[in-house]
């Protein structure tokens, strides 16, 4: 079966204002809204569109983390994923561990494609997709803004510093989703009801032969240095005079 694996990370919602705990041991996450990592939502949308074009038959959503991750997997199922796998663990999951788990699942599920968000908006690491591709020994097309599947190959347009780069890759492969790949669909109420009946498998990392390791240990968290508010100028002349005084224009 032609199958696509998609990552679904549970993260603090995009709109939550992040604050560092006063004792510097982390950021405040108690009682804040949690969501699917926006880049993973884009990854899932792309997988669904490939399936809807008849180029894939099944979309499998994977989340790694504590029991609450099932909320985000249900969202993924409501969006249209066919089934979900929850790798349940309370351990700290570094990108290296996430990639090893995804690799085991990619092999178990014999997928044609793994699509993951280019980065998670909590740790901003931007690593898992690339690491998965390396462990799997397969191509990676990161920061994708356009994906075209042609048989056992794909043509992927990537957002790079210089502009837009196009790569041709052999499948199976890893694609990481950038912002402009698509606009994810909204979930409709009947789909939420239907999602409750879709299969959600829960497994332990050990069942996949992976032990989570923490190699970059958090020592402390600090709030960022604040820029102080400057001055308001009344007109363009005053602005130009001020900038000239500093040699900036």
């Amino acid at each position: 079966m032609k199958r696509i694996l998609v990552s679904i990370k549970r993260v603090v919602d995009y709109n939550v204002r992040i604050r560092v705990k006063p004792d510097g041991t982390g950021v405040i996450t108690d009682g804040v809204k949690m969501s699917v990592n926006p880049f993973d939502e884009i990854a899932l949308e792309e997988a669904l569109r490939i399936k809807e074009k008849g180029l894939a038959e099944e979309v499998v959503a994977v989340s790694i983390g504590p029991a609450d991750c099932q909320q985000q997997l249900r969202t993924a199922l409501a969006m249209g994923a066919d089934r979900a796998v929850h790798v349940q663990t309370d351990a700290i999951i570094e990108p290296g561990t996430a990639a090893r788990l995804m690799h085991k699942l990619a092999e178990r599920e014999q997928v044609m494609l793994a699509i993951v968000g280019k980065q998670a908006i909590d740790d901003d690491c931007n690593q898992t997709g690339q690491m998965l591709a390396a462990l799997w020994g397969r191509p990676q097309a990161t920061f994708a803004s356009k994906v075209e599947i042609n048989g056992d190959q794909a043509l992927v347009t990537r957002e790079v510093d210089a502009g837009l780069e196009t790569l041709e890759i052999d499948l199976p492969a890893v694609i990481t989703a950038d912002l402009r790949l698509n606009e994810p669909r909204y979930v409709k109420l009947p789909d939420i009801m239907k999602a409750k009946k879709k299969p959600l498998e829960t497994i332990d990392p050990a069942a996949l032969g992976v032990t989570p390791v923490e190699r970059l240990k958090a020592v402390k968290f600090d709030p960022p240095a604040q820029r102080s508010k400057g001055v308001m100028v009344k007109d363009v002349q005053e602005l130009v005079t001020a900038l000239r005084g500093k040699g900036l224009v």
Binding site: V12, I18, V20, V27, G96, A99, K118, D122, D123, D124, C125, N126, Q127, Q130, M131, A133, A134, L135, R138, P139, Q140, A141, T142, F143, L155, E159, V160, D161, A162, G163, L164, T166, L167, I169, D170, D178, L179, R180, R215, L216, A218, V219, F221, D222, P224, R227, K229, G230, V231, M232, V233, D235, V236, L239, V240, L243, R244, K246, L248, V249
Partner: protein
């Protein structure tokens, strides 16, 4: 002692100027020996530039026809082989470095610290998380090989060396996969300075309201010798090209002056400019969050302010 290998990104025969910033970052590790690695079809010109950076003690070149367009899939196995003799492997936090370095880290079974703002020691690094709303300090066990991408906006460029470092060509045995093939790159590149390294940047937001209106920013930028950037909203709306995006998921920049025109200042945008020396904000909404971080703020209609600003800086007074 630490031995640091830095990937010397380049294009069109020119070393990317951010590499000198990566070298500066590496000098934060006391007593480290710093080498640069050039992967190219013809490495001579880039290696010569790399050898001129102060603090670099050797430039290693790996020449292969496939590196005419260096791709993570083909550079990573060679870099991982080369990395065997090093304790730290650094690359810039450009799209090239972000693509390549995690692939290398996985091949080496090494942890990666992304976007480091400081290498406080051989084992301790600072990096932003949550779009820069928190700074985490992370530590690895002594003796752990570490891969990192460097947040170049956090560093000044290292200076020029008194005498150039030696250049050594190496040949590697790592097999190069053929499963990933470069097709093309299209660039909206102009004669303007490169956004990533420009000293002056003029940037526009959704308020520009059209591609055509962006011309007033191009005109001003040309007068100032500035690069042009854009907010995510402006890029999503199609007013500006994707490579102009500044912010959490676009370019992180540190110009001497950043002129934000019609940009409200979402936190994801501010994270891309917080190291700018001087931020100037022009916005008609006095409540726009951009004014909270701006050194100079002017409430006004950018369609009047920008042309007037251009006219005034063109006059001699």
């Amino acid at each position: 002692m630490s031995k640091i290998l830095i990937v010397a990104e380049h294009a069109g025969g020119k070393l990317n100027p951010v590499i000198a910033k990566c070298v500066h970052c590496a000098t934060g590790i006391a007593g480290a020996e710093i080498h640069l690695a050039v992967f190219a079809a013809d490495a001579a010109a880039v290696a010569a530039q790399a050898a001129q950076i102060a603090g670099v003690t050797k430039v290693v070149t790996v020449t292969h026809a496939v590196h005419a367009n260096p791709l993570a899939a083909t550079v990573a196995p060679q870099l991982a082989e080369l990395a065997q003799g090093y304790s730290h492997i650094f690359g810039p936090s450009t799209t090239f470095g972000k693509d390549l370095m995690p692939r290398v880290a996985a091949l080496l079974d090494a942890p990666q610290a992304s976007d480091i703002m400081a290498a406080e020691s051989a084992t301790r690094f600072k990096r932003p998380i949550y779009a820069g709303n928190a700074i985490i300090t992370v530590e690895v066990e002594a003796g752990t090989r570490v891969v990192a991408t460097v947040r170049t906006a956090s560093f000044e460029a290292a200076g020029a060396a008194a005498s150039p470092a030696p250049i050594e060509a190496v040949s590697l045995s790592a097999a190069l996969p053929t499963h990933t093939r470069f097709v093309s790159v299209t660039s909206a590149r102009s004669d303007r300075p490169d956004l990533q390294t420009a000293k002056k940047v003029v940037s526009g937001g959704r308020a520009l309201a059209s591609t055509d209106n962006f011309k007033i920013l191009y005109s001003l930028a040309d007068k100032m010798g500035a690069a042009v950037g854009a907010s995510r909203a402006a890029v999503d709306a199609g007013y500006a090209a994707n490579d102009m995006q500044v912010g959490q998921t676009g370019k992180i920049i540190a110009p001497d002056i950043y002129l934000a025109c019609g940009i409200s200042g979402a936190i994801q945008h501010l994270t891309g400019i917080k190291d700018a020396r001087t931020i100037v904000a022009i916005n008609k909404d006095p409540e726009a969050p951009i004014f909270e971080v701006a050194d100079y703020g002017l409430v006004g209609d950018l369609f009047q302010v920008v042309p007037e600003f251009e006219k005034l800086i063109s006059s001699d007074s």
